[in-house]
């Protein structure tokens, strides 16, 4: 029998705008059509640079069979919501996210009993995003929330309605690169100027995760919302130990300015933050093992990044320390996303 897996990052997309229009009010649908709204490409990973010719658009009818052997549950991440980070019509972003969710709920969830939704939200209008979360609050097919990052750090009050709704329903919030970071005003800044090349973007994107992890801890979000979990998917993981040492060191020096942070930042990260490893990048397996060994045991979770995967589940898990393998493959995600992920009874 294959080892048990929970896939924390399985990308799904709507191949055509026509599929989303029925999930909007007529007036909004007319507006999308009138403005020749161009649907972000499903077969492109956000920030993916050139199109990957090999990656075909996933289809609900065949996707279940394409899950990695041993997969017990897969979190569906509608990555077409990510580009909203760079859009300016913020109400349209929310209508669009709502339509994506309804499309996933009706077309994908019934296709395989292992599928679970990550509720796509636009972070521009946090109150509307909270309403969208509330809509799925009692739906066992929804096991997480997913959104891109804005330039505003996650610790700032802008995001509080989203985080409060997430904590209310015990739904972890997954953040994922939008492909717009460092390139459009209003998205997270990457070091120096905007990266000119996709390669620079990929090498710098971890900075957005660091900024936001620091902000979540230092601004006390987890003190206000002790049930909240925030998951970083698509940012890598190899940078984390150094960041945690530094955050802890700064806390020892400057606790006076953040007295609500009563434990070292690495303790809050271990409790409230999770990292999805979807590929190893260029980190050699031996180095990955050493890095994973320096991190809290509950922190890392596997995600396939399908259909954009560059490493198989086995390649990623082989690069984990033996004592962590089952946790990264299954246990940590089961603990993080809770009972909704593995419940059998789905409508």
């Amino acid at each position: 029998m294959s080892e048990a897996l929970i896939d924390c990052e399985y990308h799904v997309a709507a191949p055509d705008l026509q599929l989303l229009l029925p999930y909007m009010e007529k007036s909004w649908a007319a507006r999308f059509v009138r403005s020749r709204f161009s649907l972000p490409l499903g077969r492109e990973h956000p920030g993916g640079g050139s199109l990957t010719e090999g990656s075909s658009l996933p289809d609900p009818a065949t996707a279940g069979a394409a899950l990695a052997a041993g997969t017990r549950a897969a979190l569906l991440v509608p990555h077409q919501v990510m580009p909203v980070a760079g859009w300016t019509d913020t109400l349209l972003c929310s209508v669009y996210a709502t339509a994506l969710n309804r499309y996933v709920r009706e077309h994908w969830i019934p296709a395989d009993r292992r599928f679970r939704m990550a509720i796509a939200i636009s972070p521009h209008e946090p109150e509307l995003a909270a309403d969208e979360i509330d809509r799925y609050g009692e739906d066992v097919s929804a096991a997480a929330i997913v959104m891109p990052l804005l330039a505003t750090h996650l610790g700032q009050t802008h995001y509080r309605p989203i985080f409060k709704a997430a904590a209310r329903h015990r739904l972890p919030v997954i953040v994922h690169p939008s492909g717009r970071e460092g390139t459009i005003v209003g998205t997270p800044v990457l070091s120096g100027m905007g990266p000119r090349h996709a390669g620079e973007y990929h090498s710098l994107i971890w900075q957005a995760a660091v900024t936001n992890i620091a902000s979540l801890v230092y601004d006390g979000v987890f003190i206000d919302l002790p049930d909240l979990r925030v998951v970083f998917a698509g940012f890598g993981f190899e940078w984390l130990p150094g960041v945690l040492w530094h955050l802890d060191m700064e806390w020892r020096s400057l606790r006076i300015d953040i007295p609500w942070v009563t434990d070292p930042p690495s303790v809050y990260v271990a409790r409230h933050i999770r990292i999805v490893i979807d590929d190893l990048g260029l980190t050699p397996p031996e180095a990955s093992r050493q890095i994973a060994n320096m991190l809290a045991e509950g922190l890392l979770m596997w995600g396939s990044n399908s259909p954009f995967a560059t490493n198989s589940a086995a390649e990623v898990l082989d690069a984990m320390p033996e004592k962590l393998r089952a946790k990264v493959a299954f246990g940590n995600a089961a603990e993080t996303f809770g009972s909704r992920l593995l419940t059998e009874a789905l409508a």
Binding site: W245, D248, R252, P259
Partner: protein, 135 residues
């Protein structure tokens, strides 16, 4: 000079909350007068050995609160290291906010009439250099 104590000065020479550092066979010791009496600590930070008594006067810190509600506490009892700004209570030697298990090494102070002495052989607490690692 007694063989276990060193004179630190005359009471009136002490500015409230400001250390006077005296050399003793146990090393340099900072002696300070506060509103509830004299304290003395080794002038050596348990972190990396900075002269912990010469950064600032005894100062005040904050205690745990809701985010962004600052509450001042430990008024004029805080030794703040000039190097990495770790903070310790002058009376207990303990870290403020429990950021480290390391403590300041403390010594008894004896006031006889107008004269102030520090007992350098009677150290209390541990001054071992510490290494802190993430959990």
């Amino acid at each position: 000079m007694d063989n276990d104590r060193v004179r630190a000065g005359v009471v009136d020479e002490f500015v409230l909350n400001r250390f006077r550092v005296v050399d003793t066979p146990a090393g340099a010791i900072g002696v300070v007068r506060t509103t509830d009496g004299f304290y003395a600590v080794l002038n050596r930070c348990p972190h990396m050995g900075a002269p912990v008594c010469v950064g600032t006067d005894l100062t005040t810190s904050t205690v745990a609160s809701r985010p962004f509600e600052y509450r001042l506490a430990h008024e004029d009892r805080v030794v703040r290291c000039p190097w990495h700004r770790w903070e310790f209570r002058v009376d207990t030697g303990e870290s403020i906010g429990n950021t480290t298990k390391a403590r300041l090494l403390r010594f008894p102070v004896i006031v006889e009439g107008a004269e102030v002495f520090v007992q350098y052989r009677a150290a209390r607490g541990a001054a071992a250099r510490v290494k802190e690692t993430p959990q």
